[in-house]
Assembly symmetry: C2
Homo-oligomer: 219 residues x 2
DNA sequence: ACCTGAACACCGTTCAAGT
DNA sequence: ACCTGAACACCGTTCAAGT
């Protein structure tokens, strides 16, 4: 097998995306350069222009890929709490809360994706794929809210507003966690904090009233 | 008449910071260049190096300035809710919630500051002023949490954890709002949403226990 | 001290030319 | 079609030199 074929036979585009992600994970999106991506792919510095009109179009492709994967993660999240009592009581609520955890898990596992998706100034109007995949991910979240409303786990009312509030919560946790501004040493601690944040948003941070006991305690 | 004095007499550093902020607000931190800042200040392209060791040091100065102003805003926030019924019951709680609103207001009024503070990869260990001002701002938040705990408006327990949860909430709202990912057309709508998010975190998103539907406790 | 022009090694993007 | 080297106008940073 030739170690470095002089010509790529049509598989250059995915190879460029992969090399770009690897580079961003090393140097961040700000220091990311197209010429270095080309170097790592073993091609000349302007060959990428056969596949991407400009640098931002490559970044937009990465962002769109990220929103697709994020949408998949939201639609098919892992378990919410493995522990006691999560039997069959409130499946829609559990999926809603698990999707929040999946959001943070996605960020921790692919921080370079999240950075390009949210911290790079891409005009979404110019990249329809990006706008569509972002829209899809948000729609999935709204659907989870509506499911919990139907179930009675969330109050009736504006599902989009409730989705935006939940989104803000997990987005804040994700952004602060991957920029190492929260005091966590590993992914498990960060995910545990994310779960507590999601629970706090559902139950409220207020101290329990002297009357009826609050729901959803841990333990 | 002297529109452009050929020499700056010691006031060049603040002039550079101001020009830099203006430029960032126009093009974003990614497209921000030191040479353009120098051009706007009317000096040669390497004169800034008399005041900043490198480009990142200027950005670190901007970030530190931002954390100072953010800390001031948290310590002295505006009113929480001007309207009905917020009499004089819980001043510490109201200051805590108002500080969250002040966080979002700061972001909306100085988005270029927030971008540099949180979205530029500055190694904080290399810029002590930045680390100190960020630490101060966070300490103010923790103090507000402790005040609410003493008052009984927040449950006893880890004040830092509660501060991190509240921070994540308002940071998510701020970041999504200034990147125009939430459906708001003006600052008033965004601030109103921020207030509802803060209230939701305090009260919980769960429907009230005496709600319309079956709401059996768990088990 | 503070500022300057020239220089270096980069970068994004374009273009005429190769196979 | 897909790739190439040369070129252009930038950029961050350095340096010897001016006042």
């Amino acid at each position: 097998m030739a170690a470095k074929p002089p010509y790529h036979h049509g598989n250059l585009k995915p190879a460029l995306l992969e090399a770009a992600l690897q580079l961003i994970s090393e140097v961040g999106p700000a220091a990311f350069t197209l010429r270095e991506v080309a170097r790592r792919a073993g091609i000349s510095h302007n060959a990428p222009y056969r596949h991407f009109r400009e640098k931002d179009e490559l970044l937009a492709a990465i962002a769109a890929q990220g929103f697709e994967r994020l949408g998949d993660a939201l639609a098919n999240p892992g378990p919410w709490k493995s522990g006691a009592g999560s039997g069959a009581g409130k499946p829609a609520l559990e999926r809603f809360q698990a999707s929040g955890l999946a959001y943070v898990r996605f960020a921790l596992n692919a921080p370079e994706h999240l950075l390009v998706m949210f911290d790079w100034p891409l005009t979404p109007a110019h990249y329809p794929n990006l706008a569509a995949s972002a829209e899809r991910a948000f729609s999935i979240l709204v659907g989870l809210v509506q499911g919990a409303q139907t179930e009675g786990s969330l109050p009736p009312g504006d599902a989009m507003e409730q989705a935006c509030i939940a989104w803000s919560m997990v987005h804040g946790v994700a952004k602060l966690a991957i920029s190492h501004r929260l005091p966590f040493r590993n992914e498990a601690e960060a995910l545990s904090f994310a779960a507590r944040s999601i629970q706090a948003l559902y139950d409220g941070m207020a101290p329990p009233k002297s009357g009826p006991k609050k729901r959803g305690g841990r333990g």
